[in-house]
Point group: C2
DNA sequence: TAACTTAGTGAACACTTGTACACCAATTGA
DNA sequence: TCAATTGGTGTACAAGTGTTCACTAAGTTA
């Protein structure tokens, strides 16, 4: 037996999952119709309005959900280690694994990052900045960044997060064609991060 | 008076321009209908098929066109200078100016990079790699990269190009809200490139 | 138990979509 | 000059779209 609220939450999740399944199947979020989402969620089209006013609102909720999960995941991955290089490696591995097990979410993100409505694009930008800020505050105590200014540290963090996040579509497409290529992506991205970190260490020494 | 081929080329361009105008107005390329493109191009829907089989094929042609223009532009921008820092600065300024004057193209690119069909995504990936390769061969003679291996240099170049290209949507959205923010983007991106370049210089010195 | 609230239903609407088909008119090539 | 080629036209169709409205049935509250 389930309460009325539980049932509502359930169909609400069904609607969001339906949208994610569709994006994961290669359908662009912007082209997904309210009706198709409703059908895949096992509900009649008009029911959609009981949960969201819009496909955009549904999209915003997906961004929020993933943003929350992602921040928790990455913070946890970082707190295991404090030696920078293994920290970076483990973070990327954790990220790549999570991407592989939640591909639908990241196809959605890749699509919307550059192709959603302005509202949705801003929502994703905020998540990226949020994650970068958390990275910055985790990097702050590390000796390499002792003398770095706040704004410099913020820039380094943003560059790192963007370098990972904005190329996630490449990881996704690689996995689809040959799943064992995940490791190649990890190594490649790790090299990029080493480069950035190396640059950051040299930043304020003439 | 114009030949038959010229007329065909002209409407072909009208169709592509119509699609670009729509993407520039915030409409996602995936949602743009063949009919709407035809209408905006001043042609009847069925005429579309005389030029493209598909909206995807039209998109591929846009990618090709911009890719060609962009490679020329960036090579030219680089050949003016060989001191790395001013080279980077001028390149980004040239790029940002070009983006501002051809916003439609770059909204299209930002949308399709992560949200187009697999075929379109791969087309853009190839252009990015192409541009990165050209950058690599221009960087090769510079003293900073004398001792760098080919694959390391390729990685640096790819990171640079991605750092610029994948955040172009941020530039576009900033311009829309406050045009004078273009300079802020240039400075921010320039800092990122300095960081990367600094990392690259330190890459093989323990 | 009775009244109220509300998630989900189903029919209807005006509109847009991609594509097939027969057709026209003008440039092209012999 | 005459026939062939071909870019553009107009009609038609089945299918899908967002949103409206009155409705039902079941959980909630008093």
């Amino acid at each position: 037996m389930q309460s009325r609220e539980d049932k509502k939450r359930q169909t609400r999740k069904s609607l969001m999952d339906a949208a994610l399944t569709l994006t994961g199947n290669g359908v662009n979020f912007s082209t997904i119709s309210l009706r198709e989402v409703a059908k895949n969620a096992g509900v009649v089209p008009t029911s959609f309005y009981r949960h969201f006013t819009d496909m955009e609102e549904l999209g915003l909720n997906i961004v929020d959900d993933l943003g929350l999960i992602l921040r928790k995941l990455m913070r946890a991955a970082r707190q295991k280690n404090d030696y920078l290089d293994t920290l970076a490696q483990q973070s990327i591995e954790v990220y790549a694994d999570f991407v592989c097990e939640n591909m639908n979410y990241f196809y959605f993100m890749a699509q919307v990052r550059g192709g959603g409505t302005l509202v949705l694009r801003n929502a994703i930008r905020n998540e990226i900045k949020f994650i970068a800020n958390e990275l910055a505050s985790d990097l702050r105590p590390i000796s390499t960044f002792e003398k770095a200014s706040d704004s410099d540290l913020a820039l380094v963090s943003l560059l790192i997060v963007e370098a990972v996040f904005d190329t996630t579509i490449d990881l996704l497409d690689q996995i689809q064609t040959s799943p064992q290529q995940q490791q190649a992506y990890v190594e490649n991205t790790l090299k990029k991060l080493r480069l950035i970190w190396l640059g950051a260490s040299a930043w304020h020494s003439p």
